[in-house]
């Protein structure tokens, strides 16, 4: 009987290390390997807004509902840092369901074949707390090098150290193979992107 009572306890004890391993590898593998200069993008408090000019008149704005990624930034050697961002295209919202479908179609993002917009830095320069990040921006199956001015917006503390950055830049969509509506300037070639990042220090 004692053996029977002991058996569940033994099973739990045997499973405990496995459960710990599962937890770590399930969500915090980066955290385990993180150094003091590693930051993770807090997707819940980061945003990406895009704007495109319609008929040469007004900028209509849309959002992507999620920005994910990680940033490594050593204040003493910013050039050794890295920025990796991923934006799922399925989360595109331009406040018009029909237009959302069109924007995700092969006319624009070709979202089914290229479900993510990605950015991977190749060089970082610091100017005070602001940054200038050069990297490869990939969307709709095309990759272009872009340089993005990134402004520091603040440091804070809420369930860990937090740091904010704001990036505002433009890309020419034709360089990414998105030619629809260019001929008569129905939709501008220039697309403005605003990315607000809240980073949480990895621990």
């Amino acid at each position: 009987m004692k053996t029977l009572l002991l058996l569940p306890a033994l099973l739990v004890a045997a499973a405990a290390p496995m459960m710990t391993t599962t937890t770590l590898s399930g969500g915090a593998a980066d955290v385990r390997a993180a150094g003091p200069h590693d930051w993770i993008v807090d997707a819940g408090h980061s945003s990406c807004v895009f704007g495109c000019k319609h008929a040469g008149a007004a900028w209509f704005l849309g959002t992507f509902d999620r920005v994910e990624g990680k940033v490594t930034l050593d204040p003493d050697a910013p050039q050794k840092g890295s920025v990796e961002l991923t934006i799922p295209v399925e989360g595109l919202d331009s406040n018009n369901e029909q237009r959302d479908g069109h924007l995700k179609s092969p006319d624009f993002f070709n979202a089914k074949e290229n479900p993510e917009i990605t950015f991977k830095s190749t060089a970082i320069q610091a100017s005070g707390k602001d940054l200038e990040v050069t990297g490869d921006l990939s969307m709709a199956g095309e990759t272009q090098s872009v340089t993005i001015p990134v402004k520091w917006t603040g440091d804070g503390e809420f369930r860990g150290k937090r740091r904010g950055y704001l990036a505002e830049f433009s890309v020419m969509r034709s360089k990414f193979g998105m030619n629809y509506g260019l001929a008569k300037n129905v939709l501008s070639d220039e697309v403005r992107l605003t990315i607000s990042l809240e980073l949480v220090q990895a621990q």
Partner: protein, 278 residues
Amino acid sequence: MDPVALLKGALPPIAAALLFVSLWGARALPLAAGIGLYLAFGLLKDWPPLPTALWSDPNGAAWLVWGVCGLAVVSCLEGLRVIPARAGAVLGAAAAAAALWLMLDKLSQRWTGSEVALYVGTGAAAAALGTLGVRDALARAPRSPAPAALFSVLLSLDAGLVTLGKSALLGQLCGAVAAALGASVAAAIWRRGATLAACDGAWIGGAHVLFVLAGVQLGYLGWWPAACALAALLPLGLWRGRPADGAWRWLLRSAPLPLGLLALAMWLAAPAPSPYGY
């Protein structure tokens, strides 16, 4: 829709079809459609990368264009009697299945094994059957421009359907194939014998199935409208006519059901009315 973009999609296949059919007859029509489609894609989007480049960096729309071009070459070879009819039928079906597989190559890299089996397997089978079905229908069709006119209308409706699936590009490309067929009917006015033959089933049937499935897989066309559109070819096999039948008689018997099914598909795919255009 932007008229410049419309012309970019329609003019190359029309010009190619008028030129090729006038110079070399209806056997050159598949080649004209393939070249017209390639030019339309280049003008509307970008010149499609060569298949060697697509092999390592696949793109569904580009593979679709090369797939229809490949089917056009098979039709042309059979039409010129370079390959026998039976080999042409098998090669056309195999080429359509392969084109479907390549078109879905990039998507299938993220699919599970069962999804690959379902979407690629059934899609490839549908593409192969599409070529054989149209081939059979054309073999029993009258030797007149009527079949080309009917298939031109069917492919035009496919183009509209795919556009309702949110992709103007795919719609225009399908419209380019339809435009080539339509132009061949016009060429029949001054050139006798601009008629379709069984060998044309490969590129016409293949294009129909490939574009409808591209609308679903690359665009946002629903499965029900797509199923109706794919089923539109089935009634063509029901009417066991003969080449000796008159064109009007053939049209009256063959056209209503496929056109009705495609109209139903478009009705199903039409978005709910919205007070906000975009």
